[in-house]
Structure formats: structure tokens, C-alpha cells
């Protein structure tokens, strides 16, 4: 193991939240990010469901990494993920039928979220149980956070409310396009712009200090 890989557990947790945020930095798992973030509530539910699957699959993949042959590992990972997604699908159906209707096929589509398979392949299949749990937690929370950012922004602009609580008076003109598909692309582009702008400003000011 090189020195670079010997990070502490806290680092594994924190990196998912910010420096390697799955949505804003790694741009992974885009489909649910855009599709179900038309309200903050949907975004939160989707984020939690994904985080749960991510955590559980990280745990299982990390525990069985010793005896899965290399050739069939991807298939094994996918099957593990699919089993947990089936569980989540039935749980959401039992808890709230409305939510299940709102999220629709996208709960089942957590299976093909590249983020989960990506973490299983890139992290959990190479690291121990404890670190994989921390990684799954961090990435899951980071993903939920990003979904909330998008869902919140789209709901505020598109419906003038947040978590179904109206924010503005009756005079508020709803920006309908924000809850439509096109709005998803624009909102995500907006957030990425913000992140890029911060990054360029940081490197610029660092350059000025050196000069």
C-alpha cells in the first residue's frame, strides 16, 4: 500500500460529501438526479433510497470480495444490488403509495445507477468492511445532499414552495419550465457552473498569492 492510500476513516467519509461529491464532482448517477428532483420531497426520498442501497451493497460486496472470482464479479455485484433494490421497492410501496407513484420506475432503476456499481467496483471490492461502510455512508449522504440542492432549487423556482410549504405570496409567477424535464438540465448546469466558478476563483487567487 502506498502512502497515498493510507487515509484515515474520517477522510473516506468526508470525501464523499465534498471533494469527491458523486454528483457535482464525479458527475455519476445522472439519470435519477435529473428525473426525480422536481420536488424536494421526491429528491429526499430518492436520495435516502439510493444511500441505503449503496451502503448495503458496499457492505455485502466488501464482505464477499475474497471469494468472488474476478471474471464474474460485475454480475455478482449487479445481482447483490438488484436484490437490495427489490427490497427498497417493496418497502417504499408499503410505506407510502403516493411516493411510490411519484418516483415510479426510478426506484427499480437504482439498480443501474452507475454510482452504486462504481463504488462497488472501485472501492468496496478492494477495501475492508469498516472503510467500505464509511465510504458508502459518505457517498450516500453526498448524493442525497446533491439531490436536495437540485430538488430544492427546482421546487422553489417551479412551484414557489419547499417541501410543499408555500414560500411566496399568491403573486408569485411559477417558473413552470423548472419542473419540466428541461429545467432539470438547466438547474444541474447552474450548480455545476457555480462549482466551476468557485474552483477557478480559488486557483486564480492561489496564483496571485504566488506571484
Amino acid at each position: 500500500m502506498t502512502a497515498e492510500q493510507q487515509t484515515t476513516g474520517t477522510d473516506e467519509f468526508i470525501k464523499g460529501l465534498w471533494s469527491q461529491n458523486p454528483v457535482f464532482v464525479q458527475v455519476l448517477g445522472m439519470c435519477p438526479v435529473l428525473a426525480v428532483t422536481n420536488t424536494a420531497m421526491n429528491a429526499l426520498a430518492m436520495g435516502l433510497a439510493t444511500a441505503f442501497v449503496l451502503l448495503m451493497s458496499n457492505i455485502v460486496v466488501s464482505s464477499i470480495r475474497g471469494f468472488v472470482p474476478k471474471q464474474v464479479r460485475i454480475v455478482t455485484f449487479i445481482l447483490v444490488i438488484a436484490s437490495f433494490v427489490t427490497i427498497v421497492d417493496y418497502v417504499i410501496q408499503a410505506v407510502s403509495l403516493d411516493l411510490h407513484k411519484a418516483l415510479g420506475a426510478f426506484i427499480s432503476l437504482i439498480v443501474v445507477n452507475c454510482l452504486i456499481l462504481g463504488r462497488a467496483e472501485a472501492f468496496a471490492s478492494k477495501n475492508g468492511l469498516g472503510r467500505s461502510i464509511l465510504d458508502g455512508l459518505g457517498m450516500g449522504i453526498g448524493f442525497t445532499f446533491a439531490l436536495l440542492c437540485l430538488g430544492g432549487a427546482r421546487e422553489i423556482l417551479g412551484s414557489g414552495s419547499l417541501f410543499d410549504l408555500p414560500l411566496f405570496g399568491d403573486s408569485f409567477q411559477e417558473w413552470v419550465i423548472m419542473v419540466l424535464p428541461a429545467g432539470g438540465f438547466f438547474t444541474l448546469a447552474g450548480w455545476l457552473l457555480l462549482f466551476n466558478w468557485r474552483a477557478t476563483r480559488k486557483t486564480k487567487s492561489a496564483g496571485e498569492v504566488q506571484a
Binding site: V27, L28, M30, C31, P32, L34, A35, I74, V75, I78, L79, A82, S83, V85, T86, D89, Y90, A105, S108, L109, V111, V112, N113, C114, L117, I177, L180, P181, A182, G183, G184, F185, F186, L188, A189, L192, L193, N196, W197, T200
Partner: protein
């Protein structure tokens, strides 16, 4: 049983509810391989083929699962079928055109995790399409995916020559273009008989 006419299913899947621009399925390859027109076209065709095969299989599996009364196995069996189809396509392309194989790179095995394909299989069972309807639905969705990919690739090739501010370079400008394309496709909403 759903009685929707075939032409309406095709137009619906291809234009009105375009998988990429209205349902947000298959965004990863849409953003990932849309930089070059030639690659985008072939990627689109590969996806279309996988869609066709997996949609046919999904129809059979659904019937079988209903027969043995085990609907909770749906997701797992669908993804297994898709993964094997992709493996088949991958071997085929590797044999026929190594250049294309290299150009598609990591995105070829990633067709497995292309949500458009699993989404297609799930939607067709949810809507209760028959055999012919399923095939037309897969064709329409594949054509729609290819269309979106080609449009996007054309725009991005032009964009290479344009002067864009540093801040928007990369993913941000691509997403803005995708948003504009999505707005354009909203214009098709009046075409079909039903949503």
C-alpha cells in the same frame, strides 16, 4: 391488455416521450460518447440492438414469472438478461470492428448500466404491451435515443469551434445544450394521441 396502435407507440417512444430528453434515461452515455458524430451513431445503433433483444426477452420473462407467480424476481432476471446481451454485442463488435471497439471504450460494457434499457423493459411490462407492441416500443425508444445522441454530437462538434467562456467548459455547457434540446422536443408534445 393495452390496445394502443403501433404507429402511436413508435412516435410516442421516439419523439414525444424521448427516453433521453423527456425521461432522463441513458444520460451517462448521452453525455459521455456524444463528442464525435461517428461514434455517437454507432453507439446509438448498438443500444438500439440491445434494446430490441432485451425487450423481446423481457416479454418472455414477464410471461414466465407471472406463470410461476414470482413477480419479485422481475428486476433480477431483467438485469441478468441485459448483462448477457451486452456481453454478446461486445464480443461481436470486438470481432467485427476493433477500431469501433476502442472508440466506444468503457461505454460499451456500461450499456448494461444504461438505464434506458432496463427502463424500457420495466415500462413495457408496466404498460402491459403485447409482443408486437413491445418490439415497436423498443424500436421507437432506440430510434429516439440514437436521434438524441446524433443531434447532440452534431451540436458538440460545432461547439468545438465556438468560443465559450472558461467557466462553462465541459459538462456545464453540454447540460445547457441538452436542456435546450429538451425544450425543442417539448414541441412534439401535440403530436400523439395520448401521453
Amino acid at each position: 391488455m393495452n390496445q394502443e396502435p403501433l404507429w402511436s407507440i413508435f412516435i410516442n417512444a421516439c419523439l414525444i416521450n424521448n427516453f433521453v430528453l423527456a425521461y432522463f434515461l441513458g444520460i451517462c452515455p448521452f453525455l459521455g460518447v456524444s463528442a464525435k458524430l461517428a461514434t455517437a451513431t454507432r453507439m446509438g445503433l448498438a443500444v438500439m440492438f440491445v434494446m430490441l433483444v432485451s425487450s423481446t426477452c423481457a416479454y418472455g420473462i414477464q410471461a414466465l414469472l407471472l406463470w410461476i407467480d414470482a413477480p419479485y424476481l422481475k428486476l433480477i432476471s431483467f438485469i441478468a438478461v441485459i448483462a448477457s446481451t451486452v456481453q454478446l454485442v461486445e464480443m461481436f463488435i470486438k470481432k467485427m470492428s476493433p477500431t469501433l471497439f476502442r472508440a466506444l471504450g468503457i461505454f460499451l460494457p456500461l450499456i448494461t448500466t444504461n438505464c434506458a434499457i432496463l427502463g424500457l423493459a420495466l415500462f413495457q411490462t408496466n404498460k402491459g404491451y403485447g409482443f408486437a407492441q413491445s418490439i415497436i416500443y423498443a424500436l421507437g425508444a432506440g430510434a429516439g435515443f440514437t436521434l438524441a445522441l446524433i443531434l447532440m454530437a452534431g451540436l458538440r462538434e460545432k461547439l468545438e469551434l465556438a468560443r465559450t467562456p472558461d467557466v462553462v467548459k465541459g459538462t456545464a455547457i453540454t447540460l445547457i445544450i441538452a436542456g435546450l434540446l429538451s425544450v425543442c422536443f417539448m414541441g412534439f408534445a401535440g403530436l400523439g394521441s395520448s401521453q
